[in-house]
Each structure stands twice: as C-alpha cells, then as structure tokens.
Symmetry: C2
Subunit: 173 residues, 2 copies
C-alpha cells in the first residue's frame, strides 16, 4: 500500500501495562487504537456497574465509539487487559489519509463493515439464546478468551451475571 509510510509517520505507539486505562469516560481523545499485541476492552458504567461492550485482541481495532464517530465526549472507558502494544491514529489523520489515499479509504470502510457484521451477529446471539448458548458462541469465536480475560468481564459482555457464568462453566452439564 502506497500510503504505509505516511500511516507510520503519523501513528503513535504505546506500551500499556496490564489493566491500564487508555481512555476515560468524558475524555475526547478522538483516536482509534489498533492492538499490535495484547488485548483491551471497552466498558461503560450503568448504575455504577461495570459493563463490557467490546473486546479487542491482536490485529483488531478498538475505539471510543461515541467520541470517534459522533464527536461527543466518550461514554466508554477503554482499558488494556494484558501487557499490550497499541498503535493509535487520530481522527484528523484518519480523515486526511482517507481523503488522500483511496486504498486507505477502502480499508477503513472494510473495517467498519466487518465491525457492523460482528455487532449484527452479537445481536442475534443476545436476542433469543440462553446464557449457555451465548457463552458457547463466544467460545467458538474466541476459544482462548477465558485464559486472557477475567470472568466478570466476560459475564457482563454476555449480559449475564458472574455467578450464572460460573455455574454454566461447571463440568457435567
């Protein structure tokens, strides 16, 4: 891709320790993050409870969605889950790159499309499946998730409680 040089020149790379906060609620970083190594999650607070919305692992993106796409202060926190190497690109740079390089613009569209499809699959999974089925769907997509993310966050991502998840995981039905 012809614009790689330019991407590299405006991307920033950061190292994050385990469970370090990358974006706080109310901030406006206007950045998209790319997980080079490690993992991160986006979460929000509902009545004081921490609810995970999104996980990102190697080669995936994560973004404070309302801030990046709607120019509002972030409703989400973003937090690393393991020691991670993360690239960031500002919204202004993304915009400029997309205007100057057709290739980059296509890539961005592709990433957004895939994200949309993955949200769509998640809705189907949440709409009428029970806790066990939802958990098994997640495991099918990410078999290693239980080794990398604490169960509390997996539970809230699935829309169930920690206790229910624990019982589901119990061997023997």
């Amino acid at each position: 891709m012809e614009c790689i040089q330019e991407i590299i020149s405006c991307a920033q790379i950061h190292f994050f320790a385990k469970e370090e906060m990358i974006v706080q609620e109310g901030q406006s970083p206007e950045k998209i993050f790319y997980i080079q190594q490690g993992s991160a999650r986006a979460f929000y607070l509902k009545d004081g409870r921490d609810i995970t919305d999104w996980f990102a692992f190697e080669k995936e993106f994560i973004v404070p969605i309302s801030n990046f796409f709607l120019d509002q202060p972030s409703l989400h926190y973003i937090q690393s889950q393991e020691e991670s190497l993360i690239l960031s690109l500002s919204k202004a740079d993304v915009k400029r790159l997309a205007e100057n390089y057709r290739e980059f613009d296509r890539l961005e569209k592709e990433v957004i499309t895939r994200t949309m499809l993955s949200l769509q699959r998640r809705i189907v999974s949440m709409q009428f499946e029970n806790a066990r089925q939802k958990y098994e769907n997640l495991l099918a997509e990410r078999p290693d998730i239980t080794q990398r993310i604490p169960l509390t966050h997996i539970a809230s991502y699935l829309g169930i409680t920690l206790e229910t998840l624990s019982r589901i995981r119990k061997p023997g039905k």
Copy 2:
C-alpha cells in the same frame, strides 16, 4: 451530487403490497433496498419461530445482510410491512458507483457507519435492560412503531415474548 443521474438509471423501483415478501431465505438477490415510502422488516427463523432483526422506514435502507456483505445465500427474509415504494440497487452497481464516484463512496461509508452505531446502541439496550426499558428505548426512537408494526414483531425484535410486551403496555404500571 454529480452521480445522481447514474444512480437513477440503474436503480429499480418496486411497489409492494402489505406484508409482501421481498427476499426469501436462501435467495441471493445481492441487492440493497431503500424505503421511499412505507416500511419493511428483516427476519430469520430460529427453531421455526419468526424473529425480527431489523425494521426500516421511509428514507432508510434494508439489506439481506449476509447475502449482500458476505456473498452467502440470504439467512433472512425481508418483507414489506405496509404498502411500500422501494428502490433497489444491485451490489454490482453499488460497487461500480463507489469506484467511479468518490461522493457515492462516502455516502456508502456514512450509511454503514450509521448502521454500525445503531447496532451498537441496540446491544447496549439488550445487554442489561429489562423488557420495559427496552420497549421504552424503542418508543423513544420510533414513537409511531406500534401504529405501523404488529406487536409480535416488535416483541421478537426486543427479544421478549408477545405476552410480556402486552403486559408491559398495560396502562397503570
């Protein structure tokens, strides 16, 4: 927009009666539909039960998602809900227009982005809200939906049963 003439020349317009089937499961229309007037819904069958996934009203798009974006036969049915005027554009035309007109490409990206954001909001609503809250969220977005769509479909869209929805709607808490 400079490409309007060309869009018009390749778009097709159809009239659909109430509850007419626009796309059947297993078909590969590879088309995106734009609701000029009326409304439509996308649904799938889970264990024989009809589950609505998506509603579209005037000036909105609806698409057999797995077919259009993933080139698989459609997992969804799409059905008009009222007498409707609906434009369709083939995937090939969309692709060509996006390649030839930067403006059209931007528009497409914008539509996909908005769809992604709306799915995201829906997940938040399904993740930890109870039946009443989910229903009220929907009403806030689409106050007229109960006049236009039967309650069964609203219920399945919300991931609750028809009976629960009916009880929620009962006046006096």
